[in-house]
């Protein structure tokens, strides 16, 4: 074995290869034997882990794209510029693989464009979500493409795409506002199924506001991981601006989380749901609110005040976990809460396996892009040409 081969077969790469191989087997099983063979879904629980995690969490955690690009290009915070490309790359991959994950749930990939071209359900929120996500994936692809075009040396097309940055950013914010909230609105139709502590007619507002926190937290969390694994790919500007970006995002996330806490409190009050807090579900709700809303809010504030990156990074982990827990609660844990335990949903190990497979594919693709293309650094031929 020569040095190149030795450096390729690291424990991380072996694990990745193992997960990818296992995922391909599960993919074959899913499409060959059908959805019943690999999932625990049934008529009571038609949406499981693939919707609750891959789609709900995937879309929320990919919000870093619109949060960062809006901060930089719409609000004029130019010192966030070096964070825009990594955030757009993550957002594009996140959304693209949300669509891929959706194919596992739908089962007939060739039917994916049906709602757009054959049978429009214009009164359905899912139609709005589908249309929005389809459009936003295209917008994100165009926003991300300059990195690939610089890598490939297509200067003219790249210069043309760069001119579209502002309208694309505006479109990105509009589309994100629409579909982030619509994902919450999907559950407004099920007041009898979702536990009252999580059910609210303001669910669209909760989903949209929490997506901003998810985006900010994800930018910090992803930046931490990138600094560990891809530090050598970062240029001086990126390294210089990294702390400022993290503290700025932390400050925003802290304030938004505090606002989120209060509107959740108003919601409990408006619906008079106080009596549910003394139940098991109530205890879990309090864990979510105190452990994953108030705690990260205070940690972010403390980190910003003390200029302490370690606290900010810990807070970002709580922020990201909080979004995952919230989406799990709304779509699975507090959903169908009145059903007897035997009829409740618990994911099959193969569903979990496919979700891990998709996350691994996203990380592998990100690594490939960040290693090859100018994402964490400026291409030497295009310095200051943004």
């Amino acid at each position: 074995m020569n040095d190149n081969q030795k450096s390729f077969w690291t424990p991380g790469n072996v694990l990745t290869a193992f997960i990818l191989a296992g995922g391909l087997v599960l993919t074959f099983l899913r499409f060959y034997k059908g959805i019943g063979a690999v999932t625990n879904l049934d008529d009571n629980n038609p949406w499981g882990l693939w919707i609750g995690f891959d789609l709900m969490c995937g879309v929320a955690l990919a919000a870093g794209g619109y949060v960062t690009s809006a901060s930089c290009y719409l609000f004029g915070l130019k010192h966030y510029h070096s964070a825009v490309r990594p955030a757009i790359t993550t957002a594009f991959l996140g959304y693209f693989f949300v669509v891929v994950a959706l194919l596992y749930d739908l089962g007939h990939p060739w039917r994916l464009p049906y709602p757009l071209v054959l049978s429009q359900g214009t009164t359905s929120l899912l139609f709005e979500v589908g249309l929005c996500v389809a459009t936003y994936v295209s917008v994100l692809f165009i926003e991300w493409s300059p990195a690939a075009l610089e890598w490939l040396g297509f200067r003219k097309i790249r210069n043309f795409v760069i001119k579209l940055t502002l309208p694309l950013t505006i479109l990105g914010v509009v589309l994100s506002t629409m579909h982030q909230s619509s994902l919450g609105a999907l559950f407004v139709i099920a007041p009898g199924k979702l536990h009252p502590l999580w059910y609210s007619s303001f669910l669209p507002v909760f989903f949209f506001i929490s997506s901003m926190v998810a985006g900010s937290s994800m930018v910090i969390f992803e930046g931490t991981l990138a600094h560990k694994g891809l530090h050598h790919k970062m240029d001086e500007t990126h390294l210089k601006e990294a702390e400022g970006v993290a503290f700025g995002m932390a400050k925003a996330a802290s304030f938004i989380l505090m606002g989120y806490f209060f509107i959740k409190l108003f919601d409990i009050t408006m619906d008079d749901d106080w009596q549910y807090l003394a139940t098991g579900y109530g205890a879990w709700f309090l864990v979510e609110i105190f452990g994953f809303v108030l705690l990260p809010s205070f940690l972010y504030a403390l980190g910003v005040r003390e200029r302490n990156m370690k606290i900010v990074r810990i807070a970002s982990v709580f922020g990201v976990l909080g979004i995952v827990i919230n989406r799990f609660n709304v779509s699975m844990i507090a959903f169908n809460w009145q059903l007897p335990a035997a009829e409740r949903y618990f994911p099959n190990w193969m569903e979990v396996g496919i979700s891990i497979f998709i996350v691994t594919v996203i990380i592998t693709t990100y690594r490939f892009i960040a290693t090859k293309m100018p994402v964490l650094y400026e291409h030497p031929e295009y310095k200051d040409a943004h």
């Binding site: 400050k251 802290s254 304030f255 505090m258 606002g259 209060f262 409190l265 108003f266 009050t269 408006m270 619906d271 008079d272 009596q275 504030a301 910003v304 005040r305 003390e306 200029r307």
Partner: protein, 47 residues
């Protein structure tokens, strides 16, 4: 303990009254929290 409301008016009066009080608390808290959050920021230069 769960409240028993005999009319929608009773329910709205009870819940909205508490909500308005909490909104007042929230507005004041936000100012305090913002000051806490930005308390150690560098002062903006005023010419």
């Amino acid at each position: 303990m769960e409240h028993i409301y005999y009319t929608l008016h009773q329910f709205m009066l009870h819940t909205k009254s508490i909500t308005y009080v909490l909104m007042g608390v929230a507005l004041v808290s936000f100012v305090g929290y913002w000051l806490f959050l930005t308390g150690r920021d560098e002062k903006m230069r005023k010419y």
